[in-house]
Amino acid sequence: MENDRSERIIISDKQYTILKLVSQGINDVDDISQRMGVKREDIMRDIEELKVRGLLNIKRFSLDRYGLTKEGELYISQGFPEEYLLEVLSKVKIIERNKISSFLEKYGKKLDGYHLKVALQHLAKNKILLFEKDKVRLNEDKKDEYLKNIERIKEILRIINKKGVCDDTYIINLLKRRKLIERKPLTKIVLEIPPIVLEKFKKGLVRKQRIITVLTSDILSEKSWVNASFKEYDITQSPPVIFPGKKHPYLDLLDQIREILVSMGFEEVKGPHVELELWNFDALFQAQDHPAREIHDTYFLKYPIYGRFDDYELLKRVSLTHENGWITGSKGWGYKWDSRKALRLVLRTQTTAVSVRTLYTRGEGEYMCFSLDRVFRPENLDAKHSMEFYQLEGIIVGRQVTFRHLIGFFDELARRLGLGKVKVKPAYFPFTEPSVEGFIKHPKLGWMEVFPGGMFRPEVLIPLGVRESNVAAWGIGIDRIAMTILGIDDIRQLFSSDIAFLRNMKKPFIGSLIER
């Protein structure tokens, strides 16, 4: 039984009927479709499927067949033109050649010029009409026989119309000459069951079953799928394209970077985009005439121009530190500090402003914070430059925090971002000492400066109230790193406004987050 079952062939109802007819010797597709009461094209798909499954062989050949022309169809439905003419002429026997048309009309019959000519031609040829000068005379003797002959031809036309054949080649040629029939070759499809299948069929191993193409709730509720089988899906065909809802690839990446920072023990902090110069520069010990504070490097505001700051003690401390170093142990910059300038508003140029705000709020202690947000610099937007970009900024605060922790952080971040080994070199930033720049080796672009940082200067920390702790600080332009991970080379694509582009962008993954 097991064996039987495995040898079983399940086919649909319709296909079973086809096979059955073929096994009975009805192997012409036209005959089959006629017996099934459907059109030939309705069963061709099933026949092809049976063929693909090796259950049928198909043979095609072409047959000589004839069909009626338009003229021929007209003749069997309306009669031959000769019949018209004879019917009317029977009434007069003799008539003038040029009066035939008007005579026909008088009796309510109409023949156009062409058909009148045809009728006269054939009747004359068979001597039914005799031409005498300009008159035509009817030969009554032969008339009936001729009409009988026309009836016979009509019958033959009807047979040809139906079957496409006629044994009488004389008639065929005659009808061809009168352009009543034309060749219409017929493709004959003949089916044949391979012997092995026929044997199975006879053993009853070919079973019919309903085939389900689309499973519907009706089928499920009727449980009719139990005795049915499912049509196999053509898995070689491509599916239609769909677009998922998804995150912006760059923001997706930033989310993952956030996750990395959080897992390293950093707390996220936020600060305003429209910032007082105090926080963007002065608290960072950037002198008020520092070149970075000029229009080439900072967006100043037309409106609003000034902000407020109520902690006058801090302003005083910052002021003294700039002017003479205050109690920080520094010489200071030696100029007259202007509080008006510190209260001017800018679009923040560095999220370091967020770090110093954090130090001001939290002061002394052991903590690690980061911010991942936008900063602004006056640049013309092109493939390499942007007036708005993201910075990954952070601080490590604590009494035991040293420069080693800063470069340790770079190593660890580079490892988690999959950027390889970091090389560190001395660098200069106005608010850190020592300052450092971390480089990574890009496979194509060579050494890239990616990790700037340093230890915040006492001139930054002491006015904010941080006297005991060291602060390792870093501010990374994350866009270039993101571009290498996302595999794009135009910075504008990080802010693309093309939905098709965004839909087609691959989902980014930071390897370290998914490798284990």
Partner: protein
């Protein structure tokens, strides 16, 4: 940062040894000089703002001699006091001038090129484009000291400026000489212009604009006269020290010059004396996390051209050469110790977290709302906060409203901060007509609205904006999304009819939660669609996520 070009041959001549490419590429970065190009003749490097003494080959060779161990510790500057006394009596807006000479210099084309480069790079950086300080260098033998710095009326002095053939008065120089045109803004609004003349009445220069052709340095020059004019005496001293000590590298001795200032005080310049700074050993260790033996520290400092000695177990006394304008604090010395020690010799250590990390609360909330939107099949987009008034107002059918506006935009397209996000979503739809429909997009981002009540003059809000378009889309479609978001947040809301010209009348509403207006929803007006060249209807909503988070917290947590 300034990019410096030097001749390799010249550098090696000043060093007294030749260097391999590898040595150049190893030692220059130790001085924060990032190499851009090295070949047989030329070295190009980028120097940093804190080391103006490295803006020419002379200062670089002096520093390299230390690192290479050829000549360590404080450099010695031979000097003699000049017999004459100069006068600094400049106009009030640029009162100070200080002077120096350098004798028996050996000049060639390269030396003159370096001299000009040093001047130019100092001018653009430390001297703040000549606003704060400007430098002039002359052939001492073409002038007759003492020199007087003074203010004159623009038409009262005339001379032949550099690279010209005819005499021009000071006013004409500002109109005709290229440097006059470039720097006119520094003096033109004043009644008196700065002028330097010698004891015979010969004009040396019109600072900070241009020198005279007559006093120009050339290949035959043997002795140099230097002036710096400034708004600030300290700055003038610093710059003069850098210039004089650099030029000294090619000469025999520096001439010290007495100058009588406006207040009749007498100063001597240049200042070649070292300053003393005490560095606590504890600071070094606490900052670097590296324990370096005191003697080693002294040796490392010697390589960086400081002379150091042990003061006691806790402190090291460091003598700082006069050209190191960057040394303000002991931490600046610590960095130099680290540079000599080698950044790559420091063992990195990863900070073990003392507390668990955490994402910002609003960021976390926003991320989860974004994930909801993704679940509804929306594509996230990312727009700049910088935009322009046309986008956020006129193309939205709105009158102009107060907005955070940039004073110095680079491109008018990006000249103000967005006050709402929907216009940029519509811009995205307008730019994406080739993409398949339906299009459903969102953005969660920051906006800023002027608010003179708040300390920073603005109110910043985190917003969520949503937009949908298709051949057929209506208020119901976006309403359904809003409704679903609010249900997920367990917040009841009502819609209140609103008037807003970006939307179709009667198809726009304020979204109220607990009587607070948390956003707007509606169907974009066909007039707006036409302005954006859109031929499909658009529905949109914008929510204040910060406010919604606050309400959620009060209600649910």
């Amino acid at each position: 940062m300034p990019v410096i070009e030097i001749s390799r041959f010249d550098l090696e001549k000043l060093l007294g040894i030749s260097l391999s490419d590898d040595q150049i590429e190893y030692y220059l970065p130790m001085l924060k000089c990032e190499i851009e190009e090295v070949d047989d003749d030329l070295i190009i490097y980028e120097a940093t703002h804190d080391r103006p003494d490295l803006y020419s080959v002379e200062g670089l060779s002096r520093a390299l001699r230390g690192i290479l161990g050829i000549e360590t510790e404080l450099p010695i500057f031979n000097s003699k006091v000049e017999f004459f006394k100069c006068i600094s009596d400049g106009p009030s807006y640029r009162p100070v001038a200080l002077f120096a000479t350098v004798h028996n210099v050996r000049l060639d084309d390269e030396a003159i090129k370096q001299m000009m480069q040093l001047q130019e790079k100092l001018h653009t950086t430390y001297c703040r484009n000549r606003r704060k300080v400007s430098i002039g260098i002359y052939d001492l033998d073409k002038i007759t000291p003492p020199v007087k710095y003074m203010g004159v009326k623009p038409e009262d002095a005339s001379f032949v400026p550099l690279d010209m053939n005819n005499r021009l008065n000071l006013k004409e120089i500002l109109e005709k000489h290229p440097k006059g045109i470039e720097y006119a803004h520094l003096v033109k609004d004043h009644g008196y212009f700065p002028l330097l003349i010698d004891s015979k009445g010969k004009i040396l220069s019109f600072p900070p604009i241009v020198n005279s052709e007559d006093t120009k340095v050339d290949l035959d020059t043997k002795n140099l006269f230097i002036d710096v004019t400034s708004t600030d005496l300290q700055a003038a001293f610093k710059v003069l020290s850098i210039v004089a000590t650099s030029l000294y590298e090619r000469g025999d001795y520096i001439g010290l010059i007495k100058t009588v200032l406006k207040n009749n005080n007498e100063v001597v310049s240049p200042d070649l004396s070292y300053s003393i700074i005490s560095v606590k050993k504890d600071t070094i260790e606490r900052l670097l996390g590296v324990n370096i033996d005191s003697n080693k520290i002294i040796e490392l400092l010697g390589k960086m051209r400081f002379s150091a000695s042990i003061e006691n177990d806790k402190e090291i006394q460091v003598k700082v050469p006069p050209y190191r304008a960057d040394i303000l604090h002991e931490v600046d010395i610590v960095e130099d110790i680290l540079m000599a020690y080698g950044y790559d010799n420091v063992e990195p250590v990863v900070m073990r977290p003392l507390h668990p990390g955490r994402e910002d609360g609003l960021e976390f909330f926003t991320r989860h709302i974004r994930e909801l939107l993704v679940g509804y099949g929306f594509q996230e987009v990312n727009n700049y906060m910088l935009t322009n008034k046309e986008v956020i107002f006129s193309k939205m059918g709105l009158e102009e409203q107060p907005v955070v506006e940039v004073k110095n935009p680079k491109q008018e397209t990006y000249s103000c901060i967005r006050t709402w996000i929907i216009p940029q979503l519509i811009r995205v739809l307008s730019n994406s007509k080739h993409a398949d429909y339906p299009q459903k997009i969102f953005e969660a981002g920051d906006v800023a609205i002027p608010d003179l009540e708040s300390p920073n003059g603005v109110r910043e809000e985190k917003r969520l904006a949503i937009a949908m378009t298709d051949s057929k889309v209506s208020f119901t479609d976006i309403y359904a999304v809003l409704d679903s978001i609010m249900k997920k947040l367990n917040l009841k809301f009502i819609l209140k009819r609103a008037v807003h010209r970006s939307f179709i009348k009667g198809r726009v509403a304020e979204i109220l939660v607990n009587k607070s207006n948390v956003g707007i929803i509606g169907e974009i007006h066909p007039e707006v669609l036409e302005k954006w060249d859109l031929t499909t209807p658009v529905v949109a909503a914008e929510l204040n996520l910060g406010l919604i988070k606050e309400i959620y917290l009060k209600k649910n947590v």
